[in-house]
C-alpha cells in the first residue's frame, strides 16, 4: 500500500507541476503578443499589416516609429515599413474620421469619389470566432424570441423565453416560471404546418436588444431544413428557406445591419463559410483557403470597393481580397511575429518535455491537452537524466533504481522534482 501511495503522490506531483511550472515560466519569460492586424489597402491595392514584434525590431521599422511605440510595426506586403500616419492613409475607409480631420475627404479611388456618408453607408465588418460556434461553447438551451415589430424605437425583451423539446417549441413565462400553453401551441403548430421536423438541430440568432432591428431566428430542423422564425405582433411568421439540406447547416451567425444585404454567415458541416443574403436566402460561398472554423477566427471587412476576408490561427494569418462580387483579387499569408521561436521558447520546450494545458483555447469549454515539442523535449529529457544520474552517483555512490530512471527518462524535470521531494528510499 505504501508503494501505491508513493506512486499516487508521484503522479500527482507530476500532474500539478506539468500544469503550473510552464505557466510560471510563461509569466516570467514570455511576452503576450496579440494577433497581427491585416488589411487590404484600396490605395496601394496590396496588403498592409500592423504587428507587435517579438524579439529585435528591424532598423527600418524603428525609423518609422516616430509617432508610435517602437515595438509596433506597420508593414506593407513588400516588407517595407511605413509610419502610423501613412498606414492610416493606406486604409482611408477604416480611418475615415482621421481622413476628414486631415482634409483628405472626399477621396478619389479608381475613378470614384467617396465622401464620409458614402464610406459610412458601405462599411461593414462581420466576424465569426471559433468560440462563437454554438457547439463550441457552453450555453443554456433557452432563448428569447423578440417582437420584430415592437411599435417603438427600441427593442424590448418579451415576457417569455422558449425551449425546444423533442416535439414542441415550448414558451415559458418569466413572471410565473410556467409554460405558456397558448403560445406554445400556436408556434408549434405553425412550425409543423410549415414542414418543420422535430427535434431541432440548432437555434441561431442574435439574442440581444442592442441592435437596430430584429430579424428573428433561424432554426435548423432534424432534416437540416432551415426555417426563418419571427414573432410579428405576437404571431408567428415562419418561412421555410430554400437553403440546401445537403449542406447540413451547422451554425448561422446572425447580425442585423441596416444595409439589409446579408443576414449573416452560415457555416456548413464541411466547414464551408457562406454569406446568407436577403435575396431569397441565397448563399454566397466564400472562397476561403485553409480555413478551419474550429480553430480560426475570421473577419470580413467590407468597404465601398472590396471585401477582405482575414482569418488566423495562433501562428498564421491569411487574407483574401475580393471584389464586391466575391471574386478573389489577391491572397496573402503571413507567419505572425508571436510565432517566432525565441531563445526563451527553446529553453521552455527543452526544460518542459511536455506541458499540460488546462485551458479554453478556441472553445468555451475547459479541456486538458498535452503538448510536446519533439526534438527539444528529447534533448531536455537526456539532460535531465544526465543530471539525475550524476546527482545520485555523487550522493549515494550507486546508480539509481530502474523505475526512478524510467520516470525521469519519460517525465524529465517533473519526475526529477517528484523523486527528489518524495525521497522514497528513506522509507522503511
Amino acid at each position: 500500500m505504501k508503494k501505491c501511495a508513493c506512486l499516487c503522490f508521484t503522479l500527482l506531483v507530476i500532474l500539478v507541476s506539468a500544469i503550473y511550472l510552464p505557466i510560471l515560466y510563461e509569466k516570467v519569460f514570455f511576452k503576450q503578443i496579440k494577433k497581427t492586424h491585416l488589411f487590404y489597402s484600396p490605395v496601394s491595392r496590396d496588403f498592409i499589416l500592423k504587428e507587435k514584434f517579438t524579439g529585435p525590431v528591424p532598423e527600418q521599422a524603428l525609423k518609422n516609429s516616430v509617432d508610435h511605440h517602437t515595438g509596433i510595426a506597420y508593414q506593407k506586403a513588400d516588407n517595407t515599413y511605413v509610419s502610423r500616419r501613412q498606414f492610416e492613409k493606406h486604409l482611408p475607409f477604416i480611418f475615415y474620421k482621421n481622413m476628414e480631420i486631415w482634409g483628405l475627404l472626399p477621396l478619389e479611388l479608381g475613378g470614384r469619389k467617396f465622401d464620409k456618408q458614402t464610406i459610412k453607408k458601405n462599411r461593414r465588418v462581420m466576424e465569426l470566432k471559433s468560440i462563437d460556434i454554438i457547439d463550441r461553447r457552453p450555453f443554456t438551451p433557452f432563448w428569447p424570441l423578440l417582437e420584430s415589430n415592437p411599435g417603438q424605437a427600441r427593442l424590448v425583451f418579451p415576457d417569455d423565453r422558449f425551449r425546444m423539446t423533442p416535439t414542441a417549441m415550448e414558451f415559458i413565462n418569466a413572471d410565473t416560471n410556467r409554460k405558456d400553453k397558448a403560445l406554445t401551441k400556436t408556434f408549434t403548430n405553425t412550425l409543423k404546418d410549415c414542414g418543420f421536423i422535430f427535434p431541432v438541430q440548432s437555434i441561431n440568432g442574435k439574442f440581444t436588444v442592442l441592435k437596430p432591428f430584429d430579424e428573428g431566428i433561424f432554426m435548423v430542423d432534424a432534416k437540416f431544413s432551415v426555417f426563418h422564425v419571427k414573432r410579428i405582433n405576437g404571431k408567428p411568421e415562419i418561412i421555410k428557406t430554400p437553403i440546401d439540406t445537403r449542406l447540413k447547416t451547422r451554425f448561422i451567425k446572425i447580425s442585423e445591419n441596416r444595409q439589409k444585404q446579408y443576414y449573416g454567415l452560415l457555416l456548413t458541416h464541411t466547414g464551408q463559410l457562406n454569406l446568407l443574403s436577403y435575396d431569397n436566402y441565397k448563399l454566397i460561398p466564400l472562397p476561403l483557403i485553409h480555413y478551419d472554423p474550429d480553430c480560426m477566427d475570421i473577419k470580413l471587412i467590407f468597404n465601398p470597393l472590396f471585401c477582405t476576408a482575414v482569418y488566423s490561427d495562433q501562428t498564421m494569418i491569411r487574407a483574401l481580397a475580393m471584389d464586391r462580387d466575391f471574386t478573389i483579387i489577391k491572397k496573402f499569408s503571413h507567419t505572425m511575429s508571436r510565432a517566432r521561436v525565441t531563445l526563451a521558447k527553446q529553453v521552455y520546450h527543452t526544460l518542459f518535455p511536455f506541458c499540460i494545458y488546462f485551458d479554453t483555447e478556441n472553445s468555451g469549454f475547459l479541456s486538458m491537452q498535452v503538448q510536446s515539442e519533439g526534438k527539444y523535449a528529447l534533448l531536455g529529457l537526456i539532460v535531465c537524466l544526465g543530471i539525475f544520474f550524476s546527482k545520485t552517483m555523487l550522493g549515494r555512490k550507486k546508480p539509481p533504481g530502474l523505475w526512478k530512471t524510467a520516470l525521469v527518462a519519460t517525465t524529465g524535470i517533473y519526475g526529477f522534482i517528484a523523486i527528489n521531494i518524495i525521497d522514497i528510499d528513506d522509507e522503511p
Binding site: A5, P138, T140, F157, F365, E427
Partner: protein
C-alpha cells in the same frame, strides 16, 4: 474497530462540523435573498437574460465556501491529532495504518459531503424557484467544480497536516493549492462540463497520497 474509529472521529468533529453546516446554511439563505432581490429590482425577463445569456452567476458567493469548509474540516479533524500526537496512539491499534487513515478520511469526506450536498440542494431549490429547469442544470454544473475544490482542500489539508516534516508540509500545501486551483478557474457557467470527469483523477490520487505522510509519521519522526 472501524466502527469505533468512525464514532471517535464523529464525536471529535461533530460540534465544529455543525458550525460549518450552519455557516453554509446561512450562506445559502443569503444567496436566496440576493436572488430574490434580483427579481424585485428588475423585470424577470431581464434577469433571465443576464443569467441565462450573459452568464451572470447569481450564486457566485458560494464559490469559496466549499474550499473553506474543506480546509476547516481537515483542521478540526487532524490538528488535535497532531498537537497531542494522538494519531501515534491510533497508529498502534491492531489495524493496518492505511485502513486507519482511510477510515479517518472517509469520515472527513462524509462530513464534507453532507455540507456540499446541502449547498447543492439549496442551490437546486433556489434556482428552480426562479429559473427554468435548464438553468438548474447549468447552475449545478457550474457549482460542482467548487465542491470538488472543497474535496481537494480537505484532502490537501489532510496531506499537509499529517506530514511531520515542515519542508514537506509546505510542499504538500503547494500541491494541494495547485489541485484546488484547477477547480476555481473563472469560467462561463457550464464551461467545466466536459472536463469534470477527467478532474476526478487528481482527487483520486490525493485520496491515496494522504497515506504517505501518515506512513512517515508512523515510522519516522523527522523535524
Amino acid at each position: 474497530m472501524l466502527k469505533a474509529i468512525f464514532f471517535k472521529e464523529f464525536f471529535k468533529i461533530r460540534w465544529l462540523w455543525l458550525i460549518i453546516l450552519l455557516i453554509n446554511l446561512a450562506l445559502t439563505a443569503y444567496i436566496f435573498i440576493t436572488t430574490r432581490s434580483l427579481f424585485i429590482l428588475d423585470h424577470p425577463e431581464v434577469v433571465w437574460y443576464r443569467v441565462l445569456h450573459l452568464g451572470q452567476i447569481h450564486f457566485e458567493d458560494l464559490k469559496y465556501i466549499p474550499l473553506v469548509s474543506g480546509i476547516l474540516i481537515a483542521c478540526f479533524q487532524y490538528l488535535p491529532e497532531m498537537w497531542g500526537e494522538r494519531l501515534r496512539l491510533s497508529l498502534h491499534l491492531p489495524i493496518s495504518p492505511h485502513i486507519l487513515i482511510l477510515a479517518h478520511v472517509l469520515v472527513g469526506l462524509t462530513a464534507f459531503g453532507t455540507v456540499a450536498l446541502l449547498d447543492l440542494t439549496a442551490l437546486w431549490v433556489i434556482t428552480a424557484q426562479y429559473f427554468p429547469k435548464e438553468a438548474v442544470m447549468t447552475s449545478l454544473v457550474t457549482a460542482l467544480p467548487w465542491i470538488m475544490a472543497g474535496v481537494a482542500a480537505y484532502l490537501g489539508g489532510t496531506l499537509a497536516l499529517l506530514e511531520p516534516n515542515f519542508r514537506f508540509k509546505v510542499f504538500n500545501m503547494a500541491v494541494a493549492a495547485g489541485v484546488a486551483g484547477l477547480f476555481l478557474r473563472n469560467q462561463d457557467p457550464g464551461g467545466y462540463g466536459p472536463a469534470l470527469t477527467g478532474l476526478i483523477l487528481p482527487l483520486l490520487l490525493m485520496v491515496l497520497s494522504v497515506l504517505l505522510p501518515a506512513y512517515r509519521f508512523r515510522y519516522r519522526r523527522t523535524v
